[in-house]
């Protein structure tokens, strides 16, 4: 990745996008050829309500400097009120992360509808700059003791 930032630091970001609104919003940003920084890798889930603290911790542990969660606007959820669960859980997650020493602003929640390609591009741009200003997190180096670390992906037989 090129190092065009003022301090040479390129943030590495994970974005959890709900499939119905935000993922489609990101698609629309693409179809509309809007441009935004390349720092975030999107991960799709059906609903933003699927994402909990372990996913965020896992991302930070693997080297992410910031995590975005994007879901449908309140009232628009494909699953009636899954995004309200997200919204309800988010402050608690933030508190938990702050207790672990995470700066405010490294984890962000946004509502992006399928029609808001421009908003998606804007959010990613802003968030990238926000994290760039905060600097590297460097948790991946600190997580030596796996007992506090987020779980690793392990293959396990699951009943289908």
């Amino acid at each position: 990745m090129s190092t065009n930032g003022s301090n040479g630091f390129e943030p590495r970001l994970i974005g959890f996008l709900c499939r119905w609104c935000s993922y489609n919003g990101a698609d629309l940003a693409g179809t509309s050829r809007l441009k935004y920084p390349p720092n975030m890798v999107p991960i799709k889930t059906n609903c933003s309500g699927r994402i909990d603290a372990t996913h965020i911790l896992k991302a930070l542990k693997e080297g992410a400097d910031g995590v975005l969660i994007a879901g449908c606007h309140p009232g628009d959820c494909h699953y009636i009120n899954g995004n309200y669960r997200t919204a309800g859980r988010f402050p608690l997650t933030q508190k938990l992360l702050e207790q672990l020493g995470l700066e405010h602003g490294r984890v962000r929640l946004e509502w992006v509808s399928a029609a808001e390609g421009d908003k998606f591009a804007r959010v990613v741009t802003e968030f990238t700059e926000q994290i760039r200003a905060l600097g590297p997190l460097g948790w991946s180096a600190q997580f030596v003791d796996e007992s506090v670390a987020a779980p690793a992906a392990e293959k396990e037989a699951v009943p289908a």
């Binding site: 990745m1 090129s2 590495r12 994970i14 119905w20 609104c21 993922y23 489609n24 990101a26 698609d27 940003a29 693409g30 179809t31 050829r33 809007l34 441009k35 935004y36 390349p38 890798v41 999107p42 991960i43 799709k44 889930t45 059906n46 609903c47 309500g49 699927r50 994402i51 909990d52 372990t54 996913h55 896992k58 991302a59 693997e62 080297g63 992410a64 009232g75 628009d76 959820c77 494909h78 699953y79 009636i80 009120n81 899954g82 669960r85 859980r89 399928a114 029609a115 808001e116 991946s140 987020a150 779980p151 690793a152 992906a153 392990e154 293959k155 396990e156 699951v158 009943p159 289908a160």
Partner: protein, 657 residues
Amino acid sequence: MAEDRIAVYFCHCGSNIAGKVDVDKVVAWAAEQPNVAIAREYKYMCSDPGQDLIKEDIQQHGINRVVVAACSPTMHEPTFRKAAAAAGLNPYLLQMANVREHCSWVTVDKGEATEKAKRILNAQIHRLPFNEALDPIEVPVNPAVLVVGGGIAGIEAALKLAATGKKVYLVEKNPSIGGHMAMFDKTFPTLDCAACILTPKMSAAGKDPNIELMAYSEVVEVDGYVGNFKVKVKKKARFVNTDTCTGCAACLETCVVRKVPSEFDQGLGKRSAIYIPFPQAVPLRATIDAEKCLTLKGKKCKQPCVTSCGPGAIDFEQKDELVELEVGAIIMATGFELWDPGQDARYGYGRLDNVITSLEFERISNASGPTNGEIVCKNGEPPKSVAILHCIGSRDLNYQEHCSRVCCMYSLKFSHLIKEHLPDTEVYELYIDMRCFGKGYEEFYRRLMDEGVHMVRGRAAEVTDLAMSPEEEGRLIVKTEDTLLGIVRRIPADMVILSSGLAPAKDAKAVSQTFGFGCSGDGFFLERHPKLEPVSTITDGIFIAGCCQYPKDIPDTVAQAGAAAAGALALVDNPTVKVEPTISYIDPEKCAGCHICVGLCPHVAIRYNEELKVAEVITAACKGCGVCVAACGSNVPQQHGYLDNQIFAEIEGAMAF
């Protein structure tokens, strides 16, 4: 478990991806990754030869996991999963990496795009070993269809479906179907009489044994999913028994409350408290306006409607009724609202007499309208000069950015009607751009120029009644720049018609939430894909037609209604439909029975098994949001297709370098 053998296919998509991403570099890198047995690139993976590559590799090279790096999965995931299945691989062992919409199209720098493509791809390479073979869940399909909205779009869709023998529920919130088209006099550019072409369809919809017409009703709740929607409809009380009412209209004459502004006549005409909105109404039944009827307001009335009604159909005790319907598909045809020009005070609408909206002019020019089709001003005199102002509330960043598409043409139609009725009247069309895009439209524009209509290129600045010369006294004056002359003109007019744009219905947002799909930025219903799926929504089984999606003229509306009907039919004509198996399950061995997921499930799809003291997922009710997984302190519920391990692996892949 057999060894994971992953095949990676990187699509160029012409230059769409390859123009930004160094495909050779990524493919060479991918070939080196753990578990990757084959890495290929191809110009168009979605083409038949592209799909054949996948099939051959599965069959000849023992490939058991596949990742296609190409466009958005919304676009072609079904295509590639079908190809995999055809070659004998479980389709859920194929993942897509979105390197077009999320990468090549949105990134400026080639080097950066290449790096991002690698990360996106690596996330899927890491995920694949954790993917399970899944089988789509097959559910029965209810063959009935609900059509919401009884304008020309809803009527057309209902008739098409009914003709195939399917049961159709046609729900309309007003007392009669017909929508806006029923208010028009003529239709452009052919000048067909709107009633002549619409009334037969209305009547057919009213009589068709396969159509259950539910007028004066509204959908209040929608539950379920594709093939199996459960819909609650509120039948509003008409206070008239529609089984016995014959539509004879005898009651209308007797009602003592006679000066209610008629909605159908845009407030220009009056109706009584008991009314039939217009003579061709379907169903032809009376309705009592509860807000105006003296009896229903608790005031004294001799109730002449009751005495005049032969069949004794009046029923003041009638109550709203909730009806539950079960349907397999839904077509939304809820239409538009005229943009309210009162929002912009410079046109004087609502303040200056004879400044009227386009819909008001439709009623004035209509032979069955409040002036019996005489084009007259408020004082009853025919106008000597009429100005028609285009783009009112359209193409305006202060109000609505979109072009309403029909105003240029209906304005020209108005000019023609005025010239036809009043040959000596001067007519001015004030336009920014004359947009005459349809069949026969440009020809109609030329015809109107030939008829002597003054075409003034300029958007009207304001309408005033402040006369500055004797010939302006007592008239309206439209101030505008004639941009082709580069001068400001004061055009005296006796009638000013505001060609208001089409706006989304005020409740469009709420309605879209009730049905579970979204609105686009302009407030109209959002289609699944603007080009290839213009009549589908993001919710499987719900289709859209007509002006609820975007302003359109009657030919386009009818065409879209037909397409929506075909979409619905393609679904409900099958006995079953396959739905995504990405639902939750709970391992009873691990569940501690804490109940937390039970209360949080949005679809009430988790129940507590008192006997085993554990929570259970009701497979048929689960829709796969995954809220239960996130809610559980020990992550006991898991969601197929979005297992924690799969998400963790994606993260590891994305952050691996």
